[in-house]
Amino acid sequence: MREIPVSEITETVARLCIEANIDLGADVEEAFRRMKETEDSPTGKEVLDLLLKNAQIAREERMPICQDTGLAVVFIDVGQDVHFTGGSLEEAIHEGVRQGYEKGYLRKSTCHPFTRKNLGDNTPAIIHTRIVPGDKVRIVVEPKGGGSENMSRVVMLAPAEGIEGIKAYILQRVKESGSNPCPPIVVGVGIGGTFERAAFLAKKATLRPIGTKNPDPELDALEQELLEKINKIGIGPGGLGGRTTALSVHIEMMPCHIASLPLAVNIQCHAGRHKEAIL
């Protein structure tokens, strides 16, 4: 049994909130550069340049990439041989978010759904806990902006709609989202499971580094096909027209009920932020 004081969780979550919001992942920047080569629209190229410049300014000035520093989505994989000491694990995560958003000059965006009153400290965090073998703890913080989250959907397709129905729904969703989710986007797709599991899979899919292959060859081919089709829609960087509408499509799939075909599309904006730590 390994003991970990929850104060370590708080410190780590606080640090990851700040880093994720300020330092854009190398995979995203690399994708901006790569897509610039194939972008036909001069305005589109210019927007990609501005996004690269934005990432650089954020890093140098220690400012968030985007003012919407999101709700803090926290994935925590806890080794089953770990024993947390000194308080509640969940409270320690919320406290980490509280401290990170305060110290990092990040915008606080949680509010009461009816009164819309801002809660002032960006808590509660959205926590996804998983118990795994071993004595390590893996924490991923993904600040998720409202603009792209609002364009996301879960739908229960009829099984007969099949793979063609899945493709059509995803393409339509991206098209309807237009410029709202700050393209170029990453399209996270969850197929199967239940209503809520499909949504979770779609969110998890957004975490996979851009440029990595799906281990399932069938899904890999589907990702490539969808990316190609999405980049023919014409939305382009910033929605101002062009080829670079999406940087990549990531799919997670699992079995589902014989009567249903759940599909979730979680759109991630170009501020594809997430940072990870292992304790």
């Binding site: 300014i57 985007c66 915008r107 700050c182 910033g238």
Partner: protein, 186 residues
């Protein structure tokens, strides 16, 4: 090809009418920030014949809720928020003299028509480029609704704020046109 045009606020008909979709504008002067909650309060004031907290004639409103200012900086990251949430309020403000709106994303048909009718303009700022945009903001001061936090109304002084013309006075729509121009048959 798009042109680059420098403009100073307050905007006039002469500034706005020649603008066309795709034009790149570098905007300088005073602009005001407002999001949905602030818009609602502005409309309430107008309904009750109360004065607005700033002069709306020729004014430009930026749809933004900035991040807090780090020490020594006038403002934190400050990119645009999605504009459609302001659509129900925007035509009233244009009728009262508002000349420019800055945001991201599509506007409603009512807003597009009001832009033509009142000779106003809708600029897009690059969504998510909050750190870059903050560089163009020289000063920031809350002038109303401090209780709204990031949604308070701020008076911003901007220098060469980089914008694109999205909806112009002749009914052009860059999001529609741009998408059409680069759409390829599947």
């Amino acid at each position: 090809m798009s042109r680059e045009i420098r403009l100073e606020t307050p905007l006039t008909d002469a500034d706005v009418i020649p603008l066309r979709i795709g034009d790149r504008v570098l905007l300088s002067g005073i602009i005001y920030t407002a999001r949905d909650a602030a818009h609602k309060r502005l409309i309430d004031l107008m309904d009750n014949n109360q004065p607005l907290p700033f002069d709306i004639q020729g004014a430009v409103i930026y749809y933004v809720g900035p991040a807090p200012a780090p020490p020594g900086k006038p403002i934190g990251s400050a990119g645009p928020t999605t504009s459609y949430r302001m659509d129900p309020f925007a035509p009233r403000l244009m009728a009262a003299g508002l000349k420019g709106m800055i945001g991201k994303g599509n506007r409603s048909q009512e807003v597009i028509e009001a832009i033509q009718k009142h000779k106003a303009i809708y600029f897009g700022a690059i969504g998510g480029a909050g750190a870059l945009i903050a560089k163009s903001i020289v000063s920031s001061e809350i002038i109303a609704y401090e209780d709204l936090g990031p949604e308070a109304i701020r008076r911003l002084e901007v220098r060469d704020l980089p914008l694109f013309v999205i909806n112009d006075t002749v009914g052009g729509d860059l999001y529609q046109e741009g998408m059409k121009r680069y759409a390829q048959a599947p």
